[in-house]
Amino acid sequence: MRYLFWRLAVFVAACIAPVMWLHQAWILDLGPDPGKALVDRFGLGTLVLLLITLTMTPLHRITGWAGWVLVRRQLGLWCFTYALLHMLGYGFFILGFDWAQLGVELVKRPYIIVGSLAFLGLLALAVTSNRHSQRRLGARWKKLHRLAYLILGLGLLHFLWIVRADLKEWAVYALIGALLLVLRIPAIARRIPRLSNRRAGAATKV
């Protein structure tokens, strides 16, 4: 496998945060409301991973290094994993697995609706992330996976509706997200300078 150590390093890096958080929760270092803290961290982690995943293609365009796109799928799957843990944590710690209440929340709370839609989007991308689906969907696969941009928008909206009094943190993430989307506008993408003349070649095939 090419770039084995690079892939492993990414894998380990993505593992570290959740392992650390669970450890902190275990030793009672997350404060009096550890469940809520975990839900918040996995939620923010999902957003950060989505942003990192969306950075791989522009980085590849700029540097020409194939390693960036080689870890894109892995990062996307990590993003989904964090989102899944975020959802499970919400169900267990906030809802107490009260399904009737979940029904109410899904109908009444815009930020829950938007968050759930974003999760369904991530689920669709995770399920179709394998090579078999890529082959079967052909050209439609690429279109489908542009859903990531919509998911980013939904995720940011979900986050915005949770903010109560200070927009600074949200604004930083929103700005980075907007920049990553702007870089994908064809007219702008064409103008991205290449630092290396190395042909991207086969590396674009994920």
Partner: protein
């Protein structure tokens, strides 16, 4: 990861522990402390810091006027039945005090920069005796009482905290509101040098923080101005040196680090109301039947909550203080006056 999902009938440890033992232990300790106070002790013993009856309480450095009031404090003047008091560490490290940052841990980390001595409180508006007082003079007329109250945050978590303070009704007796006074308005310190949260240019809050009560609400014996908790002076992150505590309302009503108290004729425009009137009303009574638009208020997480036993419990109307306060709102539609 092991996820234990207890069946509905399973008893939690907290259900089994006879909490009356907890409380009676505290009553014994409290009574012995009160006994200590009335017995004629040599002055050197009275001057010594009393040992707090709560576990894990930082010693702090109480101002002289506070220490002087300790011997005459009425311990356990109001208590709660069958409730465990929230550990001191949690009550002082999980705070909403946006003047020091929006994270729950920010106030404990940043509030050291707040200087509470000297402290001035202004009393003005529709009162017979307006004035500007040094805190020690402001506090002179009042005997401290310990009030153990449930605290329910609008964010759906809750704690049980032993406050020390005095009823607002006693303050009103001192300052003599005029017939035009209909509301009482409280204002938090505005000082961006001491309060880093006030320096954020992305904050949605228009400082200073303002809260208010209807005059009859303020007269209710449960409404107090607090200067201490857990047997000591208020830690900075909990609103030192003077804060409001209204246990039947969501926590954000209980304004911290008060510098100005005004009697006014019009309903004051409160901070959260100004940010989002559809989410935070003037009354903000704890009410499980009226949801916050973004989350349910039917239940709450009583902190500390364990990783494997989220301490979720139903929220009570008026936070369980209905007997004492429901009459304030007879004839009012609490769905529109949330």
């Amino acid at each position: 990861m092991l996820i234990k999902i207890p069946s509905a009938s399973a008893c939690k440890e907290s259900d089994v522990t006879p909490e009356s033992i907890y409380l009676s232990r505290r009553a014994v300790l409290g009574a012995s402390l009160a006994g200590l106070a009335v017995s004629a002790l040599p002055s050197w013993a009275q001057a010594a810091d009393p040992v707090s009856q709560y576990d894990g309480v930082d010693a702090g450095s109480a101002p002289g006027w506070f220490k002087d009031k300790l011997p005459s404090t009425k311990w356990q003047a109001v208590t709660v039945q069958n409730e465990a008091i929230t550990p001191y560490k949690d009550a002082t490290h999980y705070n909403n005090f946006y003047e020091f940052g929006t994270d729950k841990g920010d106030p404990a980390q940043n509030a050291d920069s707040l200087k509470t001595e000297p402290w001035t409180v202004v009393v003005d508006g529709e009162v017979g005796k307006p004035g500007r007082y040094a805190l020690e003079d402001f506090m002179k007329p009042y005997q401290l009482e310990e009030r153990i109250y449930r605290l329910r945050c609008v964010e759906a978590w809750s704690m049980v905290i032993p406050w020390m303070g005095f009823p607002i009704s006693e303050l009103l007796k001192q300052v003599e509101p005029t017939s035009k006074a209909k509301y009482i308005r409280f204002e938090t310190l505005q000082d961006s040098k001491m309060m880093p949260g006030q320096r954020s240019s992305f904050a949605l809050i228009d400082w200073p923080y303002v809260e208010g009560l209807r005059l009859d609400e303020a007269m209710n014996p449960l409404a107090i101005l607090a200067v201490g908790m857990y047997g000591r002076e208020l830690p900075n992150q909990n609103g030192a040196p003077l804060r409001l505590v209204v246990p039947w309302k969501y926590g954000f009503k209980s304004v911290k680090s008060i510098v100005r108290i005004s009697l006014v004729s019009e309903q004051p425009k409160t901070t959260w109301q100004s940010i989002a009137a559809n989410e935070y009303g003037f009354y903000a009574n704890v009410n499980p039947t009226v949801d916050h638009p973004r989350w349910t208020q039917a239940r709450e997480r009583r902190l500390p909550s364990g990783l494997f036993s989220p301490n979720i419990r139903p929220t009570e109307m008026f936070n369980g203080y209905g007997e004492q306060v429901a009459s304030l709102y007879t004839g009012m539609d609490l769905r529109t006056n949330y």
